[in-house]
């Protein structure tokens, strides 16, 4: 369960204060898949980074699973990112030099427990890349990389999945595959997910659709329900 109240975030730039988020409030129920849209530069990434514990320079209240993120210490925040959150970025951001399997295992490198290769293999199989486990990212297509990134995000079975334009760099064909996979995985795992995307297909797959514009968030009613 996510509860955000009066969240503001601004950046100091050369031409003054840039107010990206202007006191937004919303909540997400456990297990909900929420689509987040908005023009480029609206602050979608900013919001996801705040939810994911990567950005702490905000004002307002951000509570995730009953914990106020502003009150977490450096250690707790690290554990939060490691175990409770899975991130998928637009550029897949795999680590070159590590195999697909090792990329899936990456969260384990920063956790306390030894890496579980069978778990990582299962996840790779689930995203349809079992035979590519030993391949480096350079030998994977854009869609495959995003699927590996998805498997990596799910490695520690987090409660919150944050995806920042996961199909933004893919051709329509691959984008559709990734969207379907994302939707199915969310249904299977009952994970809470916030997905920033321009894809109407994701908006349709989501339980809810939030739109961020000029620093303000508003709810878009579901097409079918209207």
């Amino acid at each position: 369960m996510i509860c955000v109240e009066g969240l503001s975030r601004s950046h100091r730039t050369d031409d003054g204060e840039l107010r990206v988020l202007r006191g937004i409030s919303f909540s997400v129920a456990e297990g909900e898949l929420v689509a987040l849209s908005g023009p480029s530069g609206a602050g979608k990434s900013t919001l996801l980074h705040i939810l994911g514990g990567l950005d702490r320079g905000y004002a307002g209240k951000v509570e995730v699973f009953g914990r106020d993120l502003a009150r977490l210490g450096e250690k707790e925040l690290g554990a939060y990112r490691n175990r409770e959150v899975g991130f998928v970025f637009q550029a897949s951001h795999l680590v070159s030099g590590l195999s697909a399997l090792e990329n899936v295992l990456l969260p384990a490198y920063f956790g306390g427990a030894p890496p579980e290769r069978t778990r990582a293999m299962d996840l790779l199989a689930r995203v349809g890349l079992a035979e590519r486990a030993a391949h480096p990212p350079s030998r994977l297509s854009g869609g495959e990389k995003q699927r590996v990134a998805l498997a990596r995000a799910l490695y520690h079975a987090p409660r919150l999945l944050l995806a920042d334009e996961p199909t933004g760099a893919l051709d329509p064909e691959n984008a559709r595959k990734v969207i379907a996979l994302l939707r199915d995985l969310c249904r299977e795992t009952r994970i809470t997910a916030v997905v920033a995307s321009h894809e109407p297909e994701i908006w349709r797959a989501a339980d809810r659709h939030l739109r961020l514009e000029e620093g303000v968030l508003r709810e878009i009613p579901a097409e079918g329900a209207a």
Binding site: L94, G97, L106, D164
Partner: protein, 419 residues
């Protein structure tokens, strides 16, 4: 972070910039090897000085009469009563008397010398000593009938072999070969003229070698020197020196103080020379070592720059690490790990290079320089601690070089990088 994970990611990071890696490592290797080479050379030469060129027995104190005498009682001299007094000083285990032969002496040699014809004449100094001073017993070294037993300094033989023999085309000799060798000595006669009291030609026989024997002359049994002095009507009662053997080196300063209170002097010329040459070696060593340290400092700066650039180019990667749960200390460990790996391997290779260079330098000396006295097999000494210092220095240079890159990584804002 678990060690295996750390090792995996450090290895990955190091492979990201192999050129930078080698550059960083080359700096450490250069610094560590330069430092170790010079320190080992300093240790080696000062050991050579202390053990072979100017060996000084730390328990021995050579007492001599004062060079200038003041006061109304006249000269303080060393007679038997004085020797008794010195021998009973606290901390003194034994006292050995020395008496110079107080007439000139010369040796003329004209004959076969180990297979070669030798014709030469030299003035020599002779000194009698209590046989106990020479340490282990030297057979036949006592006043008696027949040829005069003499003991020589091994350093004299070293100098003979190293320069004299070579320049005159004479054979190199060993102590073993020389023991028993006889040569004529004439007392009361110098090469420029005879003493008024006549001449006393004798045959001298080399009884052995001892580091306590005088370097620039022959050492005789004390009673022989006394007899020769008496024969020429010279002073055969007072001693030219007494060597005190302390119970252990720590008692030497107190003994020296008591000796001075008695109005006598302590001959510290050799000790002082050792100290002075030793200080010169230490100075040269530290100057050159400073050079090595400077190179290490440069290596550290080099690591800071190379690793800093490498870390900057890997900002996205560190951002991903953050996103999947890396904490400050994880990233610090990664960067430090990369630096320390460079320092460790660089340090080890630096130690290896220093040892190789030492071997090469010794070989070059042996191959290209003519033999010289006291020539050692090696001019270097590499004690275990020096190896550890080398590796430690490599690690230290790396550690210092990592400070700025670590701060840079911790300042990186993952939110901005990953957006």
């Amino acid at each position: 972070m678990r060690p295996a994970s750390l090792a995996r990611l450090v290895g990955l990071g190091l492979r990201r910039d192999l050129r930078g890696l080698w550059l960083s490592m080359a700096g450490v290797i250069a610094g560590v090897s330069a430092l170790l080479f010079f320190v080992a050379a300093g240790l080696g030469t000062s050991e050579l000085l202390r053990t072979r060129i100017l060996p000084v027995d730390a328990t021995l104190v050579e007492v001599v009469p004062p060079s200038v005498s003041l006061g109304i009682f006249g000269r303080v001299e060393i007679d038997d009563a004085r020797v008794e007094e010195l021998a009973s000083l606290p901390g003194v285990r034994a006292a050995y008397r020395k008496m110079r032969v107080r007439v000139p002496a010369a040796t003329r040699y004209d004959g076969s010398f180990f297979g070669q014809r030798l014709r030469m004449g030299v003035e020599i100094v002779a000194e009698g000593v209590d046989p106990g001073l020479l340490g282990e017993e030297i057979p036949g070294f006592s006043e008696g009938e027949g040829a005069l037993p003499v003991v020589l300094s091994p350093r004299l033989l070293e100098i003979y072999n190293g320069s004299f023999a070579r320049s005159r085309g004479l054979p190199r000799l060993s102590e073993k070969l020389l023991v028993g060798f006889e040569f004529p000595v004439e007392f009361g006669r110098s090469l420029v003229g005879s003493s008024s009291a006549g001449r006393y030609p004798v045959s001298a026989r080399i009884a052995g070698f001892s580091p306590q024997a005088m370097l620039e002359g022959i050492t005789l049994p004390l009673e022989t020197a006394r007899r020769i002095n008496a024969r020429f009507g010279e002073d055969d009662r007072t001693y030219s020196a007494v060597v005190l053997r302390a119970e252990d080196p720590s008692r030497v300063p107190a003994i020296v103080e008591r000796v001075r209170e008695l109005g006598l002097e302590v001959d510290e010329s050799e000790r002082r020379l050792v100290r002075r040459v030793g200080a010169a070696i230490a100075l040269a060593t530290s100057m050159l070592s400073l050079l090595g340290l400077l190179v290490c400092a440069l290596a550290s700066v080099n690591i800071a720059l190379t690793l800093g650039a490498s870390v900057r180019s890997r900002a996205v990667e560190f951002g991903i690490f953050r996103a999947v749960g890396a904490r400050d200390r994880d990233l610090r460990a990664l960067v430090l790990g990369e630096a320390l790996a460079v320092g460790l391997v660089g340090g080890l290779l630096g130690v290896g290079l220093a040892r190789l260079a030492a071997v090469a330098a010794d070989a070059a000396v042996a191959a290209w320089l003519p033999p010289f006295p006291f020539q050692p097999e090696t001019f270097f000494r590499f004690p275990l601690w020096l190896h550890l210092v080398g590796v430690g220095l490599g690690l230290l240079a790396a550690l210092l070089g990592a400070v700025a890159p670590v701060r840079r990584v911790l300042r990186q804002d993952p939110a901005r990088i990953l957006a």
